[in-house]
């Protein structure tokens, strides 16, 4: 591949054109010169690490799991740290998962999945990427759906007979979904 070396001017041009691209202007006319380093990842390569799940349902994999199945997996994989009652086992560093609903902002604030987490997608996403602590990333998608279902059920968010999959999970409304506001800082004004 032959390329003429970049000059400072041409690089600036490349950058500014791309900035315009990002804002949607001149999208049709831009054909900025690029360094061209790196390779194009295959769809499989991207899929292998593209594990995130978003609140609107984007990213959920296929599969499903029930509350009953989740109870079994929870007992095997989660209870030793999070506790049979989901209140966390002292000394493990694990968070309590349920309880505290309505406590946020009171003197008895207790942050749990039930009381604080605004999106169910975060639960699936986090279990998939980082849990269980001793063997992160080891659960199957079915198992993650199931254990998510069990936690959401114990938190009185879904029914005991619920099945979680890409569709049902993206429809779960969390109790604290409206509990967050944008950063208003600066919030102290001693300006000079």
């Amino acid at each position: 591949m032959t390329k003429k070396p970049f000059t400072r001017v041409s690089m600036h041009t490349a950058l500014s054109v791309s900035v315009l691209l990002a804002s949607g202007a001149f999208a049709a006319t831009a054909n900025a010169e690029k360094f061209g380093f790196g390779t194009t990842p295959t769809a499989e390569e991207i899929a292998a690490i593209n594990i995130d799940v978003m609140p609107d349902g984007r990213g959920y994999p296929s599969g499903s799991g029930t509350v009953a199945q989740g109870k079994e997996i929870y007992t095997q994989q989660c209870a030793s740290c999070h506790g049979d009652d989901m209140q966390s086992v002292k000394g493990t560093g694990a968070d309590a998962l349920i309880g505290g609903r309505g406590s946020i902002g009171t003197e008895k604030t207790k942050k749990t999945v039930e009381s604080y987490w605004p999106y169910a997608s975060t639960l699936f996403d986090y279990i998939k990427r980082a849990m269980p602590f001793t063997a992160p990333g080891s659960l199957t998608n079915d198992e993650i759906y199931a254990v998510s279902a069990y936690i959401l059920h114990k938190g009185n968010i879904i029914d005991a007979d619920a099945t979680m999959n890409a569709e049902t999970m993206s429809k779960v409304e969390m109790p604290n979904k409206d509990g967050f506001i944008p950063d208003p800082r600066p919030d102290v004004f001693n300006y000079r």
């Binding site: 490349a14 790196g38 194009t40 991207i46 995130d52 946020i104 902002g105 980082a130 102290v188 000079r192």
Partner: protein, 479 residues
Amino acid sequence: MTKVDDTGPSYPDLSGFDLPADKLAQIKAMQEAEKRSLMARKAELEECECREGMFPNPIASRRSLFAGAAAAVAAGALPVIARADAPPGAIEFDVPDDSTKVQGRLTNDDGGYGSRSQFEDEVRWRFPTATKESSWTMTPLAAGMGIITPSGLHFERHHGGIPTINPANHTLTVHGMCKTPKKYTMADLKRFPSESRVHFIECSGNGLTEFLKPNLKTVQGTHGLTSTSEWTGVPLSTILAEVGVEPGAAWILAEGADAAVMTRSVPIDKAWSDAMLVYGQNGEAIRPEQGYPLRLLLPGFEGNTHIKWLRRLEISDKPFMTREETSKYTDVVKDGKARQFTFMMEAKSVVTFPSGEMKLPGPGFYEITGIAWSGRGRIKDVEVTTDGGKTWHYASMQGPILPIAHTRFRFPWMWDGNPALIASRCIDETGYMQPTIAQINEVRGVNGSAKYGSIYHLNGIMAWAVAADGTVTNAAHQV
């Protein structure tokens, strides 16, 4: 000679505060850990003749105990190296009675990579979390000089331990809302035009123990979650131009290759402006605990967003709402709502000398010094008070004053031997002046009628009390 109190330092009683149990446990654990570390240091001081003075250094004297062993080594014999006795990062060597009468160590006998003096023992201090995989350590700021934090003393926060990554196998994948997704090896990334910039990184939990009242004893405990390095890498804007960001893109997910597969969503305007993909720290490869081989650097943003061991960037139209930007790193304020995406680390300063657990030997001249920094740019002014905030005086600032970097300030002080209350406050180039802790608590409600255990983004003024006998203690909230 002052007798070391066997019971150790005492800490304030928090029972009057109706704190959530987990917050209370966290503060108590930090107190206990600091107490253990202080007691260990004091025990060493007991054994040596160096316990008086501003910068008590037990090592200097303890090392002389090995002089006898050194004498036993015959001339020409290989030096006896007792690594176990050396502080971390140092190697124990025999100390000759007169270093001018014997040849020194052989050139390059260290294998070509130097170590610090065996007489220097400053180390990071770990917060006693339940696991050592998810934990943090704090930079010993009191011993710091200038503005650069030694790479080995840079604070740490890990959520799934420190991964060991072979850079030959590490790749960064950029995909999502872009025209040409790319996968970069480290060699690819190093071909792009590079930049080096000096920036601080501060954990937004820095100072979490001091919201309610003075708590930890040393500046390492109260402020040690900030460090400054020179970082080298590729501007993220270069990479975004390469992949061709599509219209409507607003956020980028950054993901690490650690066991936590740490993720944060980054606003795309930050990515275009001054974000960097860094592989260098202070002139060499970035340290493993800082993200080797590749870290996202977001100057001025809270430390958690500077994703280490970076393996993936996904461009999207919406934030991803990961655990670390919903259930953690959010600030519940007094209306019961939680502030989210509180990225900016606002202007902050702290006096590092004199600071907690030091002792001034007597009246006379001292140079008060410390650091100031702001995520919004350069520090414009630093002011120092020695009378508890009645009068403030401009401190001199060490140039060049770099944007979004620790700035060293100094203030000459003649101590008359009377109790003094010392503090600093800074103003950044936006005109924002560092507030008092009380002002922050008043706005956010942390210390008002409701106490929700918000633990992030405390940038209030820190004070140190100097007693008539020269001892220096935490006086947070007194200025």
